[in-house]
Amino acid sequence: MALTVKTFAAVSDALPALQAVGARYLGGGTLLVRRVNEGDISISTLVRVSGPSLSRIAVSDGRAIIGASATMAAVARHPDLAFLRPAAHAIGGPAVRNMATVGGNIFAPAPYGDFAVALLALDAAAEIAGKPITLADLIEHRKQNGGRIVTAVSLALPKPGAFRFVKITRVKPNGLAVLTIAAVIEERDGVVSAIRIALGNMADRPIRARAAEAALVGRPLTREGIGPALAVAGDGAAPADDAVASAWYRREVLPVHLGRLLLAKG
């Protein structure tokens, strides 16, 4: 059947339309409209919510609230979100960044979704129907998310220099990721006091490198100090072969790139 677009002013009005077979929520369109163009006839209705409220970005009291429809470009140019600029810039070229949304990136299948890796490391929360849900939970169950709409993500601003991000690509400056690493690192007295590391393209969704995190707490960020963490960097990872890199290669170079990220001067 022909494609139909249903536009609503408010999220609550859009929810019933999403229940229909073949209905999908349209964010920036960079992945969904592409699927339609490529002939995915399982998509017959695109549900969209107009109006600027979902695109709002608010930063106050050490927290940021980023509307789900805020684009990568909007995040990148926001003066209070400078630490997120590398992650937002990692998405596509300039045109894609003017379209791709923060909410959409959470649902982007590998090898896409590099921004969600940053959000996971930042321990962000998503907002659905006014209620928070941790990004970890949302990503874990994102395939079962049909019929719900993420309206915003919120996160605590990391301390200056605490957030690190790297996307390894074959094609520069903006190719698909071999892998992506985001980390929030807190140090006290010369050792790591707390750390969250998120990995992209090391599974079918962004994951936390919990074994590496555990192996870093209480250790200095020196070549020797991080050794045990690098040895377990890939624990729990299940990377895939794709056109950019094989699972084998991803596993092999993950410790190399994690090591470089950890040893980089913050």
Binding site: M1, G39, I41
Partner: protein
């Protein structure tokens, strides 16, 4: 870029006005204003869209095709199968008597590669065509597939293409295009060192920014204009004429401007079926490859496997070179028999070797049919040859550039395919490279010349 006019200065006429002048391209102004007209930059009322049902298998027998549901789908105007094609067996080079015809426009009994066209759907919109494609029911019986040239040539391998009877192209010289000069085995026996190495390449895609496609338009009087981005207008016209069993004067190709091609738009894959569709529906028909089709369905450069065995002397002279080159044609010939022959003519590269034996095989497998691409028949050979040259230089302990200069062909040298070399300039290219790239070479190498071999 710098032109070094000092080389071969006495062979060049510098009293020319227009030739050699860096005139701006006249088409650049149209390009930068978006006015350059590509084939698809036309709109025709009532234009239909053609989408293909393609094989999901590498190799399978077609048990049945049921298009009834697709035909009933809203927006569908016509569904075409093999029986609709007047002469459903072709090969593009039949025009220069390189046969046999070995490929179907739409598959009949079998599919021989994953992606082979089976059924064409014509609909009012792309969406309706895509939906109808999903409603075509094809029942396949999967057959063992062969995806490797050596496997294809081994005894008992499944036959890929029955029109050839075996999994290689039969040249008049036998199972390969063979070229030889001297006695390669005697050369090996006399050599100080032997080195045999194998080189391989992956198929690659031309990836022009504009995908392959055409729009066929009925012009009345049973004549058809086809707007196309083919690289070869009459190739396309003449092959369409054969496939459609229509006299050439009924066909009119308009093109001449392609959004990149690189050899990828030499095959005749979209025009005949689009013209047929225009004829059978009386309406303009667009058949444009999607990007996915361009990347995975359009013919790639052939994967090659090249085995080079060299006999080399301590002083750096290569005295024997044997090359076995296996060109993976995929399931159908297209331009590959020609490409393998071009490879046979290219070896042993731009070097003078007295004893040479070359066997170039065009091998059929169940991979995507390969065809022409920038450097057709030569590029992969050059990769193999020049890596081999590097290894040989190290084997005899010589500088890689000096080693090449020792062996470089010169005017008057006899090539393996028994033509005297003329107009050679390899030596000067290497000499200039040594200066330009600051790669030092010895005095005696600086004095060499392509014009004659030093005493």
């Amino acid at each position: 870029m710098e032109l070094r006019k000092s080389y071969f200065a006495d062979e060049r006429n510098d009293n020319l006005r227009e030739i050699g002048a860096p005139r701006p391209r006249t088409d650049a102004l149209a390009h930068v204003t978006g006015k350059t007209e590509f084939y698809a930059d036309r709109s025709f009322p009532g234009m239909l869209h053609l989408k293909m049902v393609r094989s999901p298998h590498h190799h399978a027998r077609i048990r049945s095709i049921d298009t009834s549901e697709a035909e009933k789908h809203p927006g569908v105007v016509r569904v075409l199968t093999a029986k609709d094609i007047p002469h459903n067996l072709y090969t593009v080079l039949i025009l220069i008597q390189v046969g046999p015809e070995d490929e179907h426009v739409l598959a009949e009994d079998k599919v021989r590669w994953k992606g082979e066209a089976v059924v064409a759907v014509l609909a009012e919109t792309e969406r309706a065509a895509q939906e109808a494609v999903a409603k075509v029911k094809v029942v396949y019986e999967e057959l063992p597939a062969v995806l490797d040239v050596m496997e294809a040539l081994s005894p008992g391998a499944p036959i890929v293409n029955e029109r050839h009877g075996q999994n290689y192209y039969h040249y008049d010289s036998g199972d390969s295009r063979k070229v030889f000069i001297g006695d390669v085995e005697a050369g090996f026996a006399a050599a100080d060192h032997l080195l045999e190495q194998t080189y391989c390449s992956a198929p690659i895609e031309h990836a022009p920014t504009e995908t392959t496609g055409c729009i066929a338009v009925p012009e009345g009087a049973d004549r058809f204009t086809c707007y196309t981005n083919t690289q070869a207008m009459f190739f396309t016209l003449d092959n369409a004429s054969i496939i459609l069993q229509m006299p050439g004067h009924k066909l009119h190709m308009v093109g001449g401007t392609a959004g990149g091609a690189f050899g990828g738009k030499v095959d005749v894959t979209t025009e005949p079926i689009a013209i047929l569709a225009a004829k059978l529906t009386g309406r303009p028909v667009s058949f444009a490859y999607s990007r996915e089709e361009e990347m995975q369905i359009s013919s790639p450069r052939a994967a090659e496997r090249i085995v080079i065995k060299d006999g080399v002397m301590k002083d750096g002279r290569i005295i024997a070179r044997k090359v076995a080159c296996y060109v993976d044609a995929g399931a159908y010939s297209r331009h590959s028999p020609y490409g393998a022959q071009k490879a046979a003519a290219h070896f042993p590269g731009p070097y003078t070797v007295p004893n040479v034996l070359i066997n170039a095989y065009c091998v059929y497998t169940n991979r995507t049919p390969s065809s022409a691409m920038r450097g057709f028949g030569v590029t992969i050979g050059d990769f193999a040859l020049e890596v081999q040259m590097d290894k040989l230089a190290r084997l005899v302990g010589m500088d890689p550039l000096e080693f090449r200069l020792i062996n470089a062909y010169r005017d008057g040298d006899m090539k393996a395919h028994r033509q005297k070399a003329e107009g050679t300039a390899l030596v000067e290219c290497m000499q200039e490279a040594s200066i330009f790239a600051n790669w030092p070479i010895g005095e005696r190498f600086k004095k060499m010349s392509s014009l004659k071999r030093e005493a």
